[in-house]
């Protein structure tokens, strides 16, 4: 009779109408608004609730007339999980299966989340909320930045520059003509250049090639030093990879000569680039 009134079709104040069939009644055992789990519509009902300890609440038909005394807070369920289950069983002994089963399920769930809460408190883990809008915005920005970055080109350019500046020493033996041509081209370009570069490279390899510690890490001085040192490295045993020594030494000599010549030329070039 009661369910016909407050049930699915009509109005129930505990029913959360916007979402799917939740019942806000605190005595509800499953939380859903169903015919079998509505505490108002069932005359024989039992719930587990916890206020610092789990209690089994029972409602029987004899007390339906006294709403204040309707729910009997019977049993203080013990902390031991299995004993508590037994207690539920013995108290609800002749009750319908559904209520017994749901009571036990609810109790299990409650103990589990209590355990989890205690664990979280111990772990000291801070939970930082994520905002979906912010996340999508960041993802989009990242994609655009990736496209703008043109990583492959940048890496290749950087590697070629390092090759030109000779940070690799004498490992790569390329024909000197093309090298000179490339250098000349670079000089012409740098003369017409006015502005400084945007990129700030950290002079990793400059540092690496320094044998003695340097106080300042400016572009010019390090470049000069490195060019000088590179010739030292060449004279010492370097890591030539199986190129014939005759060839290597010839190229080395020629290149050493060439580089001495260009040392003055590259200086102004490097200065203009740094300023």
């Amino acid at each position: 009779v009661i369910w016909d009134i407050i049930g699915n079709t009509q109005f129930c104040s505990f029913k959360v109408t916007k979402s799917q069939n939740f019942c806000r009644n605190e005595y509800n055992i499953t939380g859903l608004c169903n015919r079998s789990s509505c505490p108002l519509a069932n005359s024989q009902y039992a719930t587990i609730r916890e206020e610092k300890q789990c209690f089994l609440y029972m409602k029987v038909i004899e007390r339906a007339a006294f709403p204040a005394r309707m729910w009997e807070k019977q049993v203080k369920l013990s902390k031991n999980y299995e004993k508590a289950l037994e207690q539920i069983d013995e108290n609800l002994i002749y009750w319908p299966r559904f209520i017994r089963h749901k009571c036990k399920q609810r109790f299990t769930k409650i103990t589990q989340y209590l355990i989890r809460m205690r664990k979280l408190v111990l772990k000291r883990r801070k939970l930082v909320p994520l905002s979906r809008k912010v996340e999508t915005r960041e993802r989009r920005k990242e994609e655009k930045a990736l496209i703008a970055a043109q990583l492959d080109n940048a890496i290749e350019k950087e590697l070629l520059e390092r090759l030109k500046q000779g940070t690799y020493g004498d490992i790569y033996n390329f024909p000197v003509h093309a090298f000179d041509r490339a250098l000349e081209q670079q000089d012409q370009e740098s003369e017409s250049e006015e502005e400084e570069e945007e990129e700030e490279e950290d002079d990793e390899d400059m540092n690496k090639l320094k044998t003695s510690s340097d106080e300042e890490e400016q572009d010019e001085s390090s470049e000069e030093e490195e060019v000088e040192e590179e010739m030292e490295v060449q004279t010492k045993a370097s890591r030539s990879k199986g190129k014939s020594p005759a060839n290597g030494s010839a190229a080395r000599k020629k290149r050493a000569y060439v580089e001495i010549e260009y040392e003055q030329e590259t200086e102004p070039a490097s200065k203009s680039r740094a300023t």
Binding site: K123, R124, R125, K126, V134, E138, R139, K141, E142, K144, A145, L146, A148, A149, L151, D152, A154, I155, E156, E158, L159, L160, R162, L163, K164, Y168, G169, I171, Y172, F174, A178, F179, A182, E196, E198, E199, E200, E201, D202, E204, D205, N207, K208, S213, E215, E216, E217, Q218, D219, R239, K241, A274, T275
Partner: protein, 349 residues
């Protein structure tokens, strides 16, 4: 002329879009026979009564149709403008004005006063005496400890392993609930220079804490787009034990400089050029992209690179002065979203 035009066009729309399009195409054809821009404009003005905008039509089909037509008109005008300009440029030949550079976000970037000038003495002095100076002077060799948050899942574990192969002298240890603050003194005792903690969320790595150990700065990053090695297309064989070179791009400001040095100190000072491997940290609009490649010089003008190793992107969230300390730490820089992300042209790194 006006009234009849309007009525015919509207009638056509009333029946079917196609018919109306045909009619309007005819009208357009007549219109564009004369002078280009003016005719089109006047034709538009002629076709619609004044103070008319496309959004005022209530009928969705008609509104859509009118909007499409408007778009077409605009595109046509743009093409005509472009053609004209190109003709002018060709006509002028050498005397033509230089090509206009399109505006990009990098072009329009708000000038950051903390941009590092390569010759700034103060900065050079700072760098000579900061926490990384020991590394850059060749005194210490980097030794990295990689760990995760509690209970790492498969992806994170694999990511850690791959990171360990990329960074030379790196060790992976698993954390069973140990507090970071207690690990740190142990690490210092064992001569580690770096502590890297990869935080995980929903079975995927999403955060990284990079802590320079002997009392150095701690940086907290957000990690995104992690691609493991087997997900890479056209990748090479696994990286060897050679020390890779490091490329750091676009770290311009003071903060960027610090972060750049933080990354640089992860790798040993002397790269093995024989190994031909390079690790790149490229900063673009405050996102740091990490890539690991093997390169080969085909001749001195061309280099080929082949990607091996994992890739990920980082975004700096905070930088702390001392080692990792969430409660009492002194934050040198914290990402404050409302202030810093308000302007699209302003970046911190």
């Amino acid at each position: 002329m006006d009234i009849t035009e309007v009525s015919t066009s509207q009638d056509g729309k009333g029946k079917k879009g196609k018919k109306a399009k045909k009619k309007s195409a005819e009208v357009d054809g007549e219109g564009s026979a004369g002078e280009e821009k003016k005719m089109v404009k006047s034709e538009l003005a002629v076709a619609f009564p004044p103070a008319f905008s496309v959004s005022e039509i209530k009928n969705k089909q008609r509104r859509h149709f009118m909007f499409m037509k408007l778009k077409q008109e605009k595109r046509k005008q743009k093409m005509q403008l472009r053609k004209k300009r190109r003709k002018e440029r060709e006509a002028l030949g050498d005397k033509a004005p230089p090509k206009e550079v399109p505006k990009t976000i990098e072009n329009q970037r708000v000038y950051d006063e903390t941009t590092v000038d390569p010759e700034d003495e103060e900065i050079a002095f700072d760098e000579g005496t900061d926490e990384f100076s020991a590394y850059f002077n060749g005194l210490t060799n980097p030794k990295v400890l990689i760990t995760t948050s509690d209970r790492p899942r498969g992806r994170t574990v694999r990511f850690c392993e791959q990171l360990a192969t990329v960074i030379p002298n790196a060790h992976v240890y698993y954390r069973r609930g140990l507090a970071l603050k207690r690990i740190i003194p142990q690490c210092v005792a064992r001569n580690f220079t770096y502590l890297m903690v990869i935080n995980e969320d929903r079975q995927v790595p999403n955060g990284m804490v990079l802590c320079h150990l002997p009392d150095g700065p701690t940086a907290h990053f957000k990690v995104s787009s992690v691609r493991l090695r087997k997900e890479m297309k056209r990748r090479g064989k696994n990286p060897t034990e050679h020390f890779p070179e490091v490329i750091l791009n676009n770290f311009t400001t003071r903060l960027g400089h610090t972060i750049g040095r933080l990354f640089a100190a992860l790798f040993p000072q002397e790269p093995h050029f024989v190994g031909r491997q390079v690790a790149t940290f490229h900063n673009q609009r405050d996102f740091i992209f990490f890539r690991f490649h093997r390169y080969i010089f085909k001749n001195e003008k061309k280099v080929g690179i082949q990607e091996l190793g994992p890739r990920f992107t980082l975004k700096l969230r905070s930088l702390q002065k001392g080692t990792f300390d969430s409660k009492y730490g002194e934050y040198e820089w914290v990402m404050k979203r409302h202030e810093m992300e308000a302007c699209r042209r302003k970046f911190q790194l």
